[in-house]
């Protein structure tokens, strides 16, 4: 049984966490269990609800909402006892919680941390960060994020937006910044969906989208240093949301590895799969203008042995 990926959604009051959770619930591609602070704020169309039972609401699309009334530990025990087990866990942190302290729960048997997201209100974040009571809390939240979801970008001028993004990069040097309106962000950005299982093309490609772009690179064995160089280079950027792949390394050619990166947190772990691909494939999900024009070829291109 593979570990259940956990996504933490943090951010101060009014940033749009709940809107985002509602959006993700409506567009769920997996059977998600969603742990929420405030049941009342989850506004799901009644026809989507298949069952209500005290602290849980079951949806027709297979998702379950579970209240955090008895605390996170108890809620986790509840959802992990579900049969079948959920395919993903989404935890909505309270408006003042440090997402890092919630994310700590994901480092437990049966779970793994996918990403800690912090939703940011583009209009109010700068003022909020100097608030007498909550300034320090808000700034601390930013620093815990893998991905900052910069929400309500449609409500601010372009120069305010770029100023805010530059400021956010300083507050959260480890995070990538994803722009959003109305809390709507593509699942491929929010979640580490199974991109590596898609058909393999032996070419670089880009898939242009409104809000993000996918770059993929396919080749033969890679040196470990190629991966490390790529990771270091991306540390300088805040517009590469995710990198994911299955790679074969020259120092261990028989053991394909899974590469995962969100924000600037990354890992290389052994691929647990029967079929062992011989090619390496790396996919990056970025902001629309990032990594142009050569995508991942800039770092991995020369590694391709043809």
């Amino acid at each position: 049984m593979s570990d259940i990926p956990v996504t933490v959604i943090g951010g101060y009051l009014g940033a749009g966490k709940t809107t985002m959770v509602n959006h993700l619930l409506r567009n769920a591609e997996e059977r998600m269990a969603v742990l929420v602070n405030d049941f009342g704020s989850i506004n799901i169309d009644e026809e989507l609800i298949s069952d209500r039972d005290g602290d849980t609401i079951s949806l027709a699309n297979g998702c379950i909402c579970c209240s955090l009334a008895d605390g996170l530990a108890a809620a986790l025990d509840t959802v992990l006892a579900f049969d079948p087990k959920p395919e993903r866990l989404l935890i909505e942190a309270s408006g003042v919680a440090d997402p890092a302290s919630i994310a700590a729960y994901a480092h437990a048997p049966g779970l793994r941390l996918d990403a800690a997201l912090v939703v940011v209100d583009a209009e109010t974040i700068r003022a909020r960060s100097t608030d007498k009571y909550v300034g320090d809390t808000v700034v601390r939240q930013l620093a815990s994020a893998d991905l900052l979801i910069l929400n309500k970008v449609d409500l601010v001028d372009a120069d305010v937006l770029s100023g805010t993004k530059a400021w956010l990069s300083r507050q959260a040097p480890k995070a990538a910044i994803v722009e959003a309106t109305n809390g709507a962000v593509a699942s491929a950005v929010i979640f580490d969906l199974g991109l590596v299982n898609r058909a393999v093309h032996n070419v670089s490609e880009t898939v242009a989208e409104d809000v993000f772009q996918t770059w993929s690179w396919t080749g033969d064995e890679l040196k470990r240093s190629h991966i490390e160089n790529l990771m270091t280079a991306l540390d300088e950027r805040d517009d590469v949301f995710r990198v994911k792949g299955v790679v074969t390394l020259t120092d261990e050619p028989d053991q394909p590895m899974v590469l995962q990166r969100v924000g600037s947190r990354w890992s290389l772990t052994v691929l647990e799969s029967e079929d062992k691909p011989t090619l390496s494939r790396v996919v990056a999900i970025t902001a629309p203008d990032a990594l142009k024009p050569d995508g991942l070829d800039t770092w991995l291109g020369s590694a391709t042995s043809t």
Binding site: L13, G40, L72, S94, V96, A108, V134
Partner: protein
Amino acid sequence: MSEAVETTIYPARTIHTMNRAHPSAEAIAVRGTRILGIGSVDELSTWAERLGPYTVDESFADKVLFPGFIEAHCHVMTGGMWQFPYVGFFDRRGVDGRLWTGCKNIAAVVERLSEVEQQIDDPEETLIAWGLDPIYFDGEERLLAHHLDEVSATRPMFVYHASGHLATVNSALMAKEGITRQAATPGVARYESGEPNGEFQEPAAMRLAGDAFTTFRQTIASAEAKWNYGFEARNAGNTTVADLGTSNVADEEKLTEWRSVVNDPDFPCRVMVAGASGVAGTVDPTSLAELVLELQATESEKLRFGVIKIVIDGSIQGFTARISWPHYFNAPEGHPGNGLWLIPPDQVADLVSVYHQAGLTVHCHCNGDEAAEVFIDAVEEAHRRHPRVDTRHTVQHCQLTTPPQYRRMATMGMCANIFSNHMFYWGDQHRELTVGPERAEQMDACGTAEAAGVSFSIHCDAPVTPMGPLHVAWCAVNRLTASGRVLGEQERISVDTALRAITTEAAYQLKLDHDIGSLEAGKLADLTVLDDDPYEVDPATLKDIGVWGTVVGGRKHPAAKSNA
């Protein structure tokens, strides 16, 4: 009306009624669950006779009687703790009256656990213990896995710390739960070698202890925990306790359990069960308000409702309370500067307004002064939206509440419940580490509250510190730290004020003062029975006065006999 109600007259050495009109009396007459009157045996006999048969019970003839003491801030899990052996630093008396001597160092902890271990037959059973308090150990000694491995290399062990933020486990438990050096959970502390050292910091890491942590959490919320809660209260001399926001009152099962336990005639205490709001969400405020009003309308004499608990900051000794500038005095490396909010401060006024408008009383946990400021602002805003009289909204803990804040509280008729026990248990740490000498001397400022005209109670917050109304009073009167230092002499209060704080004022704060808090005709017959008179002993020995037990609703509940 069919049941024969008899009158019992109890003559006593002294009865302190806490009723200003009749401060003392030689006897009290009890009829059914209520007080028929106080006065002389002659006066009371004349009246009793008119009503039918009566008896004169001499068992309290050499005792000193008070209105039953009230602990207005503690938690039901204090009772649950006693299902596990105690390894804390200070002596503590179990619900069965057993005196558990304090474990003053690691060796004592290991010795205590070894004794317990040998008495468990099932080799698979996990040994769970509680109360570990390494903050008082010399030289920053920490209990780690290798210490516990001396106790047993095969039996899983889980030791819960007094702070509630840590647990120490042994190697057998880590082996059982598959915790290795690969464990990535933040809070898994390590030896220099990189192996986990058995110390799990914060709940996310504690959860790795698997069944042990689950068993612990469930046990401290069990029906037996509720029974022990009552026994612990009785042994300490409390006849009413407020379970302040531990219970999810929307949980039907737990509610039924509360009813069947507390309404059992053998259960020796009244309980005010507060509805917990907004700690980790719970039900939405409007529904909670409706529910609590409904519960209040159908409450019994023993099980009460009507109070809402909100928690907005952390603890001072944990460096998580919200304290105004210049914040913490000597915080540990890496501390972010100020403490944590548990709910967004901008939400507090909306939250308070819901309960305020519903006519309920809001009790808000505010350890730091910044937290108190937010709550007081919220109460003011609630009054602006929904003018209302006699709310008795209460600042709980009130540890750094300032003179201007107390004066604002007074203008709005707010109450304070001051955590006086902190003086003794953490006073030295507050002076050296958390807030520094100046603020430490102004902490838990009962004197300032009294001067500002704020009605206040004092509390223990059990299980954080042991249940003990006379200890709580002793702290407020003497302000002595564990090392023997007087901390803030100016904030001391008189014995009389302290005794009012645990009787009339606590009753007022819980809006139960029509029924309890003083001894007067018509009120419930709740008595605390003492071996000595707090007004006569040296105030320095207030905490040492023997407690015979209590009377709750006319029924005697002797304290458990002690072994020391």
